[in-house]
Amino acid sequence: MNPKETNPDTMSIFSPGLAARFDALVNKYPVKRSALIPMLLYAQDEIGYLSDAVIDEIAERLSITPLEVRNVATYYSMLRFKPAGKFNVQVCTNISCMLRGGYELLERFQDELGIGHKGVTPDGVFSLEEVECIGVCCWAPAIQVNYAFHDELTPNDVPRILDQYRTQVQK
């Protein structure tokens, strides 16, 4: 099933599992709206980005307007409004990583993937982002691919990491 179409059983664009999770999430907090940011992130994890349909459904689930959802969503740097690659490579270049070769790492990713900051490879497999501190300073330089951390890297580790994810696509 294309997850972007409304499922007639759940009346949701999300998978039955995520729709059920959202049903629980809106009742988890003293105030319903507190579920907004987790919902946006989990929806993005499944759909790939915050499409108009995602925003509309989340607004409806929280009884707020789509505009209110957008006002909040645009604030957070992990949330995006157009698709990224299947694997979003986030290279930290903040001070602790910079001092240990974060920029050299970023350059190697740019060379290997042929894309720059916020670029997506033509096959849609990878996207690349230079990001701010990801909280692994003592194991620098480090990156995150989607939510997975890879730390204490050198530029020579780059092909191996990319291959590891390419294999996952082929499976």
Binding site: K28, Y29, P30, V31, R33, S34, A35, L36, I37, P38, L40, L41, L62, N71, V72, Y75, Y76, S77, M78, L79, T93, N94, I95, S96, M98, L99, R100, Y103, L106, G116, H117, E130, E132, C133, I134, G135, V136, C137, C138, W139, A140, Q144, Y147, A148, F149, D151, E152
Partner: protein, 436 residues
């Protein structure tokens, strides 16, 4: 996977269960877990707050406010529900201590949250993790579910009449949300902009109710304070600075890692003995002592410097988040200053004009300077801009951006001057930065 390190000078209190499988609740109990919460349940709120005050435990997020005193500000009677809020939005560059706490000892955070709840009379506690820490959130959520199953959380905790619920929450990428009032906004499902103070969170906080908000390390320390006793805990540290601190050594250091050392531990010794010195035997140029917002220190300033809130404050910087960033003599300070301000420019939420405009102009000026197009008056302009941001914003992000910048210009003025008039950088590492 983050590597654990150790050194003989460490005093393992908060890290005592690291690497021992304590994310598993039965293992945590085997290692003495949840006994502190049970003791607090028996002793009552006044006893807890007295202990916390006597422990001299000060806020590990960076401000160093005494935790017991903060808890005592929460009114006993309140028409609105009271809350405990655990700040695990760890985002200060150079800081990764909470990462290890969530990974190795999530139940310590839950137990500390329960104790804080008992102390102030709250029935609900929130644990907020930054969005990037998804795998850690999953570990914490599993730990919370296990604590419910055991009856340590819920309507009647440990079989008592007392109720306490814990709710986990994820952020979605925003340094500013680490600021306490912005975190409350975010948790209420809004943009993470700060609130004006007063009123302080202890009086008007989350959902308008009295709220205690503490850093994750502070909360994870609480059960240990109760277990070992406030006096014993305080005795480990220095004057008015109880216990230990998780210091994160990063940058040009031979053995980077998170080390638990007593408060007041000498910074020079920390770098040269605990951390094995500057990487590759190079010379030390500068140290950022407590995360990127703390003013830089020169080698001669760390000789006799004890790492506690008061001593580092007296030395003109801050202990901050305990993230010690070591900089070697091959580093261009202008580049380092630019990378630092680029971060704050990116993270300024834009709510207060001095911060939004100040960080942007500082970044612009330093970018030009770094590229070799600086003019002599830029140096004073940088100071003027930074000085005018200080204390003029709702939250401390403006200060956090201005303070380190002032430090770099003051202490490395000569290096800034060496970049003037199109002269090539002495370190020849001038590339344009991509983060926008």
């Amino acid at each position: 996977m983050p590597r654990l390190v150790s050194h003989p000078d460490e005093v393992k209190i908060v890290t005592r269960r690291f690497g021992q499988g304590a994310a598993n609740i039965d293992r945590y109990i085997e290692l003495g877990g949840y006994e502190a919460a049970k003791k607090c349940l028996a002793q009552g709120p006044d006893w807890i707050i007295t202990e916390m005050k006597a422990s001299n435990l000060r806020g590990r997020g960076g401000a160093g406010f005494p935790a017991g005193l903060k808890w005592s500000f929460v009114p006993k009677q309140s028409s609105k529900p009271k809350y405990v809020l655990v700040n695990g939005d760890e985002s200060e560059p150079g800081t990764c201590k909470d990462h290890l706490i969530f990974l190795h000892d999530p139940h310590a955070v839950i137990e500390g949250t329960i104790i804080a709840g008992l102390a102030i009379g709250a029935k609900v506690g929130f644990i907020y993790l930054r969005g990037e820490y998804r795998y850690l959130l999953e570990i914490v959520e599993k730990a919370v579910a296990d604590a419910y199953t055991k009856g340590f959380l819920g309507k009647s905790i440990f079989g008592s009449e007392t109720e306490f619920q814990v709710i986990t929450q994820t952020g979605a990428g925003a340094y500013e949300v680490g600021e306490e009032s912005a975190l409350m906004e975010s948790l209420e499902g809004k943009r993470g902009v700060p609130r004006i103070k007063p009123p302080f969170p202890a009086v008007v906080g989350l959902y308008g109710g009295p709220t205690v908000i503490n850093n994750a390390e502070t909360i994870a320390t609480v059960p240990h304070v109760i277990t070992m006793g406030a006096a014993a805990y305080a005795a480990v540290g220095s004057e008015r600075n109880g216990g230990t601190r998780l210091f994160g050594l990063s940058g040009h250091i031979e053995r980077p890692g998170v080390y638990e050392l007593p408060m007041g531990y000498n910074l020079k010794k920390m770098i040269y003995e605990v951390g094995g010195g500057v990487r590759g035997g190079r010379k030390l140029k500068a140290v950022v002592p407590g995360g990127s917002s703390t003013p830089v220190l020169l080698p001669e300033e760390i000789e006799n410097l004890g790492m506690d809130f008061d001593q580092v404050g007296k030395a003109g910087s801050m202990l901050g988040s305990g993230g010690v960033v070591v900089i070697d003599d091959q580093t261009c300070i202008v580049e380092f200053a630019l990378r630092t301000i680029s971060f704050y420019q990116h993270e300024s939420c834009g709510w207060c004009i001095p911060c939004r405009e100040g960080t942007d102009w500082l970044k612009k000026t330093l970018t030009r300077f770094h590229a070799g197009f600086g003019v002599a008056k830029d140096i004073d302009n940088i100071r003027y801009l930074a000085e005018n941001m200080m204390g003029r914003t709702f939250c401390p992000l403006g200060d956090a951006a201005a303070m380190p910048t002032l430090g770099f210009v003051k202490k490395f003025r000569k290096e800034f001057e060496d970049h003037l008039d199109g002269k090539p950088c002495p370190f020849a590492k001038h590339v344009e930065m991509a983060v926008v």
